[in-house]
Amino acid sequence: MLTRKLFFICLCTLTAGLAFASIDLSDFDDELMRNMDDAIKALDGSIGAKDVQASAVDAQFIAEGLEWAEGYFTAKGDVPDAVQWAAQGREFAAAIAAQTGKNDFDAAFTSYRSLVKTCRSCHDVYKPPSL
């Protein structure tokens, strides 16, 4: 029984991550993504607080990051879904900046929900799996 368990554990270790091939994202800027993750969370609060300046800063940071991601995936080639998600996300971030600038925080929150959904769609496919 113990031998079977040990065999199984070894098998799990050896095959971890090998089962399904994916595109090579080893040169992706993970630090930027972590910072964007922080910015997404902060933007939620900035919109909630009806803070025009903070919302604009957070939205701009996210838009710049997504612009980089769009370029990255375009250069990779053959990942049109990732390129499209990055572009859509950038548009939502720009919309948030514009809407908060007009003090339309309800619309900004709707755009924010769309932005988050877009991020999630891309992460479902391209973000490295959590263990």
Binding site: F8, F20, D29, E31, A39, I40, G48, V57
Partner: protein, 479 residues
């Protein structure tokens, strides 16, 4: 190292040093509910929901270890046809795996299947009692999550985080609604079986996280003394204990007058009072001797295979009857069984026959009992797990972890029975009606009258929510 400016630098250059951290507790919409740890927030008093609720309580059935939807609810004729063949690439494209134990050949279920009730829900022969209850149930057949280990995915299911430190859903609900019974904890955990403290089942999944500690789940033990150290020591008389507590209270009140902002002192004084009241109320709440023979039989309380989980679920019904907000029951198996959870990496036939036998009758009994007492209308019963299991085999006769597509179900509490969503033809991935754990939490909060986007708590300068930045209410299943 990133070539980009960090967010800190970005905020600094924007001359807004405070950035997103300087946020108030206000979120879009009226009726906001927000606090911070520095403010005293009495957990024993009821609070107003954001809108009229459909449900008052939740019984959360956590099938620890991950049952196979493909052998219980998700009937896949194509998987049976493809049995023994390698996983087709069309199904595995872009599938992300981490700690999988290899991808074996497709493994057909050995169960026999039938459609039941007016809703025509498919249920396997492993659940003969539950099959009679399908017309009370909304099956979410396109559930998905993240992670591929029990601990990580269990954390996500219960706390929406992939690392420890966030509050469990039960804690958020108590924070949002307070207690409807000042004599009992609002969030009770009922672990069962020898494996109930194992991977993905430990206290981090009923933690209060960054919410005040008073919101954490209270784990009840089996037996007639449900809370450890609650009973008065035999050498202390009731009168002696009362006078000790009265003295303690007067000293605390004296101190509180000097330090009116000290929320911890107020919380501690209230916890002494709650503990005193619970000496009487907690044992009574779980005293099954007050139940009829027919009711005990309904839950399988007197049968060996179902005794533990049946006892837990009958206790759960008694607790929601007493207005406990959230009861988290965790599946386990009898001490003398060599199966300790649903984690069937090998010999799924043996594992799931033991596990289904231990939960089928108690769960069906719970639904029938709640309905007959008129409690199902106001009680959400949620059957879920950290993930499901793969259509491909492992070790020849087992299935691996599957976070990409599995079944969760909800009954009662204003939920419309039927089937919502689907996995692909072999049951590997959710392809329609996709419901992530964030969405499940948002939906439960909604039925309790709480808007997940407005239930917030200030932590480290950030407005935190139960569902983090995600979550959509699954409107299609709301009656």
């Amino acid at each position: 190292m990133s070539n980009h400016r960090s967010r800190r630098e970005f905020l600094g250059s924007a001359a807004l040093g405070v950035g997103g951290a300087a946020i108030s507790s206000i979120l879009p919409g009226a009726g906001l509910l927000s606090a911070s740890a520095a403010e005293f927030d009495d957990p024993t008093t009821p609070k107003q929901p954001h809108f009229a609720p459909k449900a008052k309580s939740v019984i959360w059935l956590h099938m620890a270890g991950a049952p196979s939807s493909l052998d219980l609810f998700d009937y896949k004729p194509d998987l049976i046809k493809l049995h023994g063949q390698p996983l087709p690439e069309s199904f595995s494209k872009n599938l992300k795996t981490a700690t999988d134990g290899g991808v074996g050949a497709l493994l057909a279920t050995k169960r026999t299947w039938k459609q039941y009730g007016e809703t025509g829900a498919w249920v396997s022969d492993w659940l003969p009692h539950l099959s009679a209850q399908v017309d009370n149930i909304a099956f979410l057949k396109g559930t998905k999550t993240e992670g591929s280990t029990h601990v990580i995915s269990s954390l996500k299911l219960h706390t929406s985080g992939l690392t420890p430190g966030r509050p469990a859903l039960g804690a958020w609900i108590q924070y949002g609604l307070g207690s409807a019974n000042p004599d009992l904890p609002a969030f009770v955990v009922l672990p069962t079986g020898k494996g109930s403290a194992g991977g993905g089942r430990q206290a981090t999944i009923w933690s209060s996280g960054f919410l005040p500690a008073s919101y954490q789940g209270t784990a009840f033990r089996q037996g007639d003394s449900p809370i450890l150290h609650l009973a008065r020591p035999q050498v202390v008389t009731a009168e002696e204990q009362r006078s000790t507590l009265d003295l303690l209270r007067s000293l605390n009140e004296h101190q509180a007058e000097r330090y009116p902002q000290d929320s911890e002192l107020q919380a501690r004084a209230r916890s002494y009072d709650l503990a005193f009241r619970m000496q009487k109320t907690a044992p009574e709440a779980v005293d099954l001797s007050k139940e009829s023979e027919a009711t005990r039989k309904l839950y399988g309380v007197d049968e060996h295979a179902t005794q533990e989980f049946g006892t837990a679920l009958l206790r759960a019904r008694r607790l929601v009857e007493r207005n406990v907000r959230f009861v988290h029951a965790i599946s386990g198996t009898p001490e003398d069984s060599d199966v300790d959870s649903w984690d069937a990496h090998n010999d799924i036939e043996k594992n799931h026959s033991v596990m289904t036998r231990s939960v089928d009758k108690p769960i069906a009994g719970l639904l029938a009992d709640l309905k007959s007492r008129g409690l199902l209308d106001t009680t959400l019963v949620v059957w879920t797990s950290e993930f499901g299991r793969t259509p491909y085999g492992q070790t020849g006769d087992g299935r691996d972890h599957n976070p990409w597509g599995y079944t969760t179900w909800i009954a009662g509490g204003g939920i419309k029975p039927g089937s919502y969503g689907a996995t692909d033809e072999i049951g590997l991935r959710a392809v329609s009606g996709v419901v992530d754990t964030y969405d499940l939490q948002a939906t439960i909060l909604h039925q309790l009258g709480l808007d997940h986007s407005r239930l917030t708590f200030q932590h480290l300068g950030r407005s935190e929510r139960a569902t983090t930045v995600f979550g959509e209410v699954v409107k299609e299943i709301i009656a």
